[in-house]
Symmetry: C2
Subunit: 266 residues, 2 copies
Amino acid sequence: MKHVTGSAAEAAMQAVGDQVGQVFGELFGSRRTKPRASRSGDRLSADRIVEVAIGQMRDRGYDAVTMRSIAKELGTGPASLYAHVANRAELDQLVTGRICAQIRIPDPDPEHWDAQLRQSLVDMLALYREHPGVARCTMGMIPLQPGVLVVSERLIALLKAGGVPDQHCAWFIDVASLYVAGVAIEEDIWRERHLGQDPDEGGTLQHVEQEVVVEQVRNVFANLPAEHFPLLSALAVPMTSGDADDRFGFGVDLLVAGLKALAAQG
Amino acid sequence: MKHVTGSAAEAAMQAVGDQVGQVFGELFGSRRTKPRASRSGDRLSADRIVEVAIGQMRDRGYDAVTMRSIAKELGTGPASLYAHVANRAELDQLVTGRICAQIRIPDPDPEHWDAQLRQSLVDMLALYREHPGVARCTMGMIPLQPGVLVVSERLIALLKAGGVPDQHCAWFIDVASLYVAGVAIEEDIWRERHLGQDPDEGGTLQHVEQEVVVEQVRNVFANLPAEHFPLLSALAVPMTSGDADDRFGFGVDLLVAGLKALAAQG
DNA sequence: ACCTGAACACCGTTCAAGT
DNA sequence: ACCTGAACACCGTTCAAGT
């Protein structure tokens, strides 16, 4: 949240942050704890707490990250965190803000706005995948963190370059954000199921496991009683084919094609 | 899960259930506890546990439903539940199966397959809204519960009536299910934030609260520094306009329009 | 076969007391 | 101003013991 201090951009961002703080306060019933600027190694700060939270989400999964586990890694007790972060909900907000600030969306090229849009959604999923667990923080969030606002701003630029009407721009961002986060969350839940189950790194093992389950699911579909499930049993192969990228690619194509079609028809 | 006993349909469903049980067992590492047929009032059963869980999700919110709270309402301790339900994950599966079994999707009318499809998605959201909290159970779920399979089967019928290619049918069901569940979950998180906050029923109060927050959010957007957020501040009104139904309606239109466009172009 | 009490190893959050 | 120990009121799950 605090990059370089003193610049005009920084001041503007801080102003945004203050306004946002008011809304959050009313939402979560929490007095906003004012952020601290210190960066010295051994003092607690919201920044360090967020950092540890992100790291633990990746290493141990979203559900394993608790106020207590964060405090432990920081060498203190859970109570100490509450001087810098109002509660778990606010921590999730800060985590989302920090990660989304890393998304880079290109300046619009009117010739290729749709390809740029598709690529941006793919990049968003890739970022969530680099930081497993973070997508779960975004559910039900009002996207007011500065990092998230920048993403919206730049997505709108892309959409407007494609001549998308204002109302469609606004609503599309919601739909697309929800879809990307949803896919990331489902992958994440899947990942957590097979996390720690094997003591050695679950990376490739998870991949193999997944293929085994896909095979089993296909068998279930294929062997469904045809008198009750004629279509599902006939479509056993397409229902279970394609990897995560194929499926997500279809979803992205669907959203962008829908956007164009709606704009064209009215 | 068990409607009328002894029919051929019932036997077929049971066969499906057994296969599904195997897959779940490997997924969750749980021995499937065989379902009991008893319906007498005061005995524990998976059915009664699921019933209580659904009721509590509606009354107190998803997060407030715990093994302990369910046990308490059933007049026993949490340990007793584990004779009928393997764990919390399986309970969520059963809850989803029970609720999705209530969805009614019409026989396809080839002239109006797209309107039928849109209406079916609207009905799905309406059902989730009738049973708040249930949508959260569906995240990361492999849709193998009989009730969920029926929904897929009948959605495919609609899609095929519209000439949608097999692979698109399969993937579209995933995207649409995720979107509908995602919208329901976000509404649910919102609802829980304002649940119990006021002792009297939160129904209308929540609605008013929501309008207040929308107004605040619009103000934040409108007052964003124009040099950093020219588009977002200009689009403050469209970004925050429309109620939940308007936004969901747009999402549904987008998905269906996308489906048609993709089918037409390849 | 079904149920249970008690325990284990956890949670988020608060608050009086310290520095 | 910042930090902490201890406590409060909870979790899911297991297991030996009962019926």
